[in-house]
């Protein structure tokens, strides 16, 4: 079953009098439970596409359905609610909240967005911190842990609400190779464990091979879709 369906999706930015076509009518679909990567050089439209899938921006043309919802129809509040219930995000710069501990960062979406009861929150947060190997660092603040550890916490935060889709924009860009590989492996492992669909962008050739489905973007056009290891690409 397709979790994301894009039909002739385009995105145009206006910078002063200049128009920049970041995406030029691309079509694809992402199946539930797949581990998908969008690759391409800088400026190819990877981040723009992930922003559209993540309902952070609206397409200029075409139709983009995520978990059965046309993202263009969502207003600011509906978009926030949709993201909070259906999606998880992993950022290039980790983007953990510095005033919260590791535990509280992972707990945040359950506490502030989904209003989950305390016992349930604690159970889910600790399970995920165990899964990402950060349970023993739960009380530390983000400035007390390494970059790789921060990204593992970010992965746990993205998964804590049991989202259908996790979007990761260049999740390994600020990590060394070993840590980057470990984070991608962790994401894949969690996909296997929880059945969550992972979509990430990268231009790191060392990581590309870890994707099951590889979409290659170039100048806003989808150049190639490639099935890597047991994935299902359309």
């Amino acid at each position: 079953m397709a979790l994301v369906i894009a039909e002739q999706v385009s995105k145009t930015y206006h910078t002063g009098e200049t128009e920049v076509e970041a995406l030029k009518g691309i079509s694809f679909s992402i199946e539930t439970g797949s581990f998908v990567s969008f690759v391409g050089p800088s400026g190819s439209g990877k981040t723009t596409l992930l922003n559209l899938i993540g309902c952070l921006d609206a397409p200029s043309g075409g139709c983009l359905k995520v978990v059965g919802t046309d993202v263009a129809t969502l207003d600011r509040t509906q978009g926030a609610a949709f993201r909070g219930s259906e999606m998880g995000f992993i950022f290039q710069d980790f983007n953990l909240l510095p005033v919260l501990s590791v535990f509280e960062n992972v707990e945040y979406p359950l506490l502030m967005i989904q209003k989950t009861p305390e016992a349930e929150r604690r159970k889910r947060v600790m399970a995920l911190l165990e899964a990402v190997g950060m349970a023993d660092q739960a009380l530390k603040r983000p400035d007390q842990i390494s970059g790789g550890q921060k990204q593992r916490v970010a992965v746990a935060r993205a998964l804590v609400t049991n989202p259908k889709l996790v979007l990761a924009d260049e999740p390994t860009a600020n990590l060394d190779h070993a840590t980057a590989f470990m984070v991608i492996s962790l994401m894949k492992q969690l996909r296997d464990q929880f059945g969550t669909t992972f979509v990430f962008s990268t231009h790191d050739p060392r990581i590309v091979g870890e994707a099951e489905v590889l979409h290659t973007l170039e100048d806003g056009v989808l150049k190639n879709s490639e099935l890597m290891k047991g994935g299902t690409a359309q």
Partner: protein, 412 residues
């Protein structure tokens, strides 16, 4: 909600120095307002009580037209026996009246047998007068704190100028309504300290002596001074009594009596109003300080945390929650300022009271400044600070909640 408070407080503590500076500014503003309100309020209350309790009373009833000519102490605008009985009946039935005192006010010549000068005099029933203006006996510098027939209480400045002492005999010469002159000897029973305000340099003699001196064939009272049980109910009772007094009409259908509060008769009322106005300006300054300092610090906070706002918005935090996070930060700053300001302000007021600071008011010296904070003032200042703090945060908070996550995440 407690989670929003927790995050807001941690964000405030993140920039400790800045938060401390802003909170200190708000605290100082609150301290300044509270101390000023307490000192000026106490000064005002003390002055009012000096004026009302030592000579004027809270209210005065006159025959219509008397106050317009009060400087000449007219004897032909007195309240007749029948009119006084009506006033007395009215005052007796009013529960809020503590005491009242009829007075005959007149001007005369004061002689020590060697020199003569002018004097303004009040003919009073001592018990009624002392009950209506209880600070009058306190003004006795030397002599007895009582007044009997044949005795006179002489104002200090006049006594000094005429070299008159307690126990001396003096002569008062007065002209009555029909123009006849009469004189009478009096024994000086007390020297009265002068007080600021109308009537503060008047002499006092017994009511019956005034009647005799002025050769009154029928009673003519210049005014009736009234003291209320609760000063706070002044305007309510004033309006009530005025309505009842204005119902008393002469054959031409015009009101017979007029009623004035101390405010209408004493120029100090204008100073009291100026003090109130100054307090208002100080409060406006406080509002400005709180508004500008908190708005500034919260705008900075939003600007510095754009990426964090983008992050929490991206992961699904509703705009209303983002708004609340910032509003609560402003609220906490305001609450801290209000509480710390109240504590420090109260301590300063306590120190002022323990220091026994004295001041002068007109001829009166050595008045001790006793300040007090009214709970209503504390509540009012605290509410102003907290409300203004939240209002000052509103614009930055709305700005944060309206940020597009995609733009906020791109912010460097």
């Amino acid at each position: 909600m407690s989670n929003i408070f927790k995050i807001a407080l941690r964000n405030l503590l993140r920039y400790k120095r800045r938060t401390l500076l802003t909170a200190t500014l708000v605290t100082l503003g609150v301290v300044f307002v509270l101390v000023f309100t307490a000192v000026s309020g106490s000064f005002k209350q003390m002055m009012i009580s000096q004026i009302t309790d030592s000579m004027m009373g809270h209210l005065q009833i006159h025959r219509k037209g008397y106050v317009a000519a009060i400087d000449t102490l007219p004897l032909n605008l007195g309240i007749k026996q029948q009119g006084y009985e009506k006033i007395e009946a009215l005052l007796k039935q009013e529960q809020g009246i503590a005491a009242y005192s009829p007075r005959i006010k007149f001007g005369g010549m004061f002689s020590n047998f060697m020199e003569t000068t002018n004097i303004r005099l009040n003919g009073v029933f001592p018990e009624k007068e002392f009950a209506t203006v209880p600070l009058l006996p306190e003004r006795v510098n030397s002599g007895r704190k009582s007044l009997q027939r044949g005795e006179i209480m002489v104002p200090e400045l006049l006594a000094r100028g005429m070299n008159v002492k307690v126990g001396d005999t003096v002569v008062i010469v007065a002209t009555n309504q029909s123009g006849s002159v009469n004189g009478k000897q009096f024994l000086v029973s007390a020297i009265l300290e002068s007080a600021s305000g109308p009537g503060g340099r008047d002499g006092y003699l017994h009511f019956d002596d005034a009647v005799e001196l002025l050769r009154m064939e029928q009673l003519e009272i210049s005014e009736v001074a009234v003291r209320l049980k609760q000063f706070g109910k002044l305007h309510k009772l004033e309006n009530k009594l005025r309505g009842q007094l204005e119902a008393q009409k002469n054959p031409k259908g015009k009101p017979v009596f007029e009623l004035h509060s101390w405010e209408a008769l004493s120029p100090f009322a204008k100073i009291a109003k100026m003090l109130d106005l100054m307090t208002l300006f100080i409060k406006i300054m406080l509002v400005s300080i709180v508004l500008i300092s908190i708005m500034n610090v919260m705008m900075m906070a939003v600007f510095e945390r754009v990426r964090e706002i983008g992050t929490i918005a991206a992961i699904g935090t509703p705009p209303s929650t983002i708004r609340s996070l910032f509003l609560v930060e402003g609220l906490c700053l305001g609450l801290f300022g209000a509480v710390a300001g109240t504590v420090i302000g109260s301590l300063i007021i306590l120190i002022i009271n323990l220091s026994n600071i004295t001041f002068s008011f007109g001829q009166q010296t050595g008045l001790i400044l006793k300040t007090s904070l009214v709970p209503g003032d504390i509540l009012m200042v605290s509410i102003i600070v907290v409300v203004v703090s939240v209002l000052a945060t509103l614009q930055p908070a709305i700005k944060a909640s309206k940020m597009r996550p995609i733009d906020a995440l791109r912010h460097v």
